[in-house]
Symmetry: C2
Subunit: 246 residues, 2 copies
DNA sequence: GTCAATACTTTGTCCTAACATTCTGTCTTA
DNA sequence: TAAGACAGAATGTTAGGACAAAGTATTGAC
C-alpha cells in the first residue's frame, strides 16, 4: 500500500487544522493501520494532499514526534516508531486515572483541617514555617482494596473542601473547580519501607516496600499550590513514563 | 526594571537562532535574573529588539513553555513560572547522570554473555522465545557504595562489549558508539522487596524496599533495542519528573 | 569493479504577512 | 452607580516562500 491512509480536514471546525491532522495520524498509528517502520510521504506532498501549507502539516507531525510516535530524519523522511501508544504521565489525579481505567476508586478521609505548616511543607510551598495550610490525609481504595495513602498540604486560601467532596472526586478536580489552573508539577518518585501506620492502612506489614511520590505543583501565576507526599502499594500501582530523544 | 534582560544572537553561528535565544532565557531564569511572575515583553517587540521574526522568537519561547519555565496566556502575555530549573528525566544512562552530578560511578560486571531470550524478555523486545540475546548484569556503585543492580537484554547484533568496556562507561554510550540511535523509551517505575541476591549485592537485607525500573528502548528504525530491569537502593536514588500542563 | 564526486530528495531554519481569539480595561449608557 | 458595549493588546493559527543541511542514490573516472 502506497498510502492506505485517508486524512481529511474540516476548515469550518474551530479545532485547529494541525490538531485535526495530528489526531487522525495518532489514531491511525494506535490502531495499527500505520505499522512501525512505515514511511510517511514527505511533508510537502502530504500538505498538498490535504490542501494545507507546509508549516501546518509540519506542526501536525511535530506533535507526534514530541509524543514519540514518529521520527524525522533530515534527507530521509518521517517514519512511524512504534505502535504501542502509552499515555504520557499527565497532570491528572490518581482518582481520574483509576476511573479512566475502569477501576472503582473510593476515598476515606483521615485528616481534613487547617493547621500551621511543618518545616518541610513550608519549605516546599515557599511559605514561612507556621503559616496556615490545609492538611489532608486520605486513604485511596480501588475496587474496595486499599491502594495508597495520600498526604497533601495546600495554601489555606485555595480550597476548603468538605469530607464529602473529597470522597466523591479527586483533589485536582476540586482545585480546578475553584478556578485555579495547575500548570507545572515536579515529582520525585522513590521507595522505602512502610511505617507502622501506613502498613495498617494499606493492609500490609511494617517495612513492606512502598512506592513513594512527592509532588510540588505550581499554578500559572507561579506560586506553589500543593505539596503532596504519597505512598502506594507497589503490587497495585506503578508509574509509566515515555521518554523521547530530542 | 523594564527589561534588565540583555539578549543577543549571533547570525554567523551554526546554532539555530531560536535555540540561542531559548538558552539565554533559560539561563536568565535559572540564575534568578528573571524571577517567578516576571512578565516578558510581547513576542513582537522581543523579536524586534533582537532583529528576529516573530515565528523565530515564538519558537524560542515555546521551548521554555515545553520545559515548564514559562507560561503563555492569550490576550495577556508570557510570564516566568518558577525558577527552580530541574532537568527533565532524559534518555541518559545512570552512569552519565552520576558523573554529571560529581559522584564517582563504577561498574562491576556480573554477567556478560549471549543466551536464549527468556519469555518475558522476548515479549518485550518483540522476539521469539529462545532467540539469541545479549544478557548483561551489572552492579553499579557511586563513590564506592553499591547503588543499583542493572539487568539488561539486547538483540545479539547491536553490541558485543568486553567487560572492560562495560566498566568504563554507560551502556547507552556503547550503543551510541555502535552507531545506533536510541529514540524512544518506555519506563515503568515501581517498588518491591529485595531478593536475597539483590540484598547481598546492595549491602542490605532481604525484603528491604528497592526502587525498580523496567525500560524498553526503541531505535529510530522502530525496532526494540534494549530491555532493562533495574533495582536501586532507595536511600541513594530517586527519579525526578517535571510535568507540564498543555 | 571500486571509489569518489555529483545531483537529488527531504527535513531544518527563517522570513513576511494576515487574520482569529481571548483577555483586560475603559467608556458609554441605563 | 453599575452593567454592558467596545476598543486595544497579546497570543494562537495559517499561509507561502526561500535557502541550508544532511542523507541517499546515481553517475563518472580510474
Amino acid at each position: 500500500m502506497a498510502e492506505s491512509l485517508r486524512l481529511t480536514v474540516d476548515r469550518r471546525s474551530p479545532v485547529p487544522l494541525y490538531y485535526q491532522v495530528a489526531e487522525q495520524l495518532e489514531q491511525a498509528i494506535g490502531s495499527g493501520q500505520l505499522s512501525p517502520g512505515f514511511k510517511l510521504d514527505n511533508e510537502i506532498s502530504l500538505a498538498d494532499q490535504l490542501g494545507l501549507s507546509r508549516p501546518t502539516m509540519r506542526r501536525a507531525i511535530q506533535e507526534l514526534v514530541d509524543k514519540g510516535l514518529l521520527v524525522r530524519k533530515r534527507g530521509v523522511g518521517t517514519q512511524v516508531v512504534h505502535g504501542r501508544v502509552r499515555r504520557e504521565l499527565e497532570l491528572t489525579s490518581l482518582f481520574d486515572d483509576l476511573r479512566a481505567t475502569g477501576q472503582k476508586p473510593a476515598t476515606k478521609v483521615l485528616v481534613n483541617q487547617v493547621e500551621p505548616a511543618p518545616a518541610e511543607v513550608a519549605d516546599e510551598l515557599g511559605f514561612a514555617e507556621g503559616d496556615e495550610v490545609l492538611h489532608l490525609e486520605r486513604l485511596r481504595l480501588a475496587d474496595e482494596k486499599p491502594l495508597a495513602v495520600l498526604r497533601n498540604w495546600l495554601p489555606a486560601n485555595v480550597i476548603r473542601p468538605t469530607d464529602e467532596e473529597l470522597e466523591n472526586g479527586g483533589l485536582y478536580q476540586l482545585i480546578r473547580d475553584a478556578g485555579t489552573h495547575v500548570q507545572v508539577a515536579r515529582q520525585r518518585i522513590g521507595a522505602r519501607g512502610a511505617t507502622t501506620q501506613e502498613a495498617r492502612l494499606l493492609g500490609g506489614r511494617k517495612n513492606d516496600a512502598v512506592l513513594t511520590m512527592q509532588r510540588t505543583a505550581y499554578a500559572d501565576s507561579g506560586r506553589a499550590i500543593e505539596y503532596g507526599d504519597h505512598c502506594y502499594r507497589p503490587e497495585a500501582y506503578s508509574f509509566e513514563v515515555t521518554l523521547v530523544e530530542r
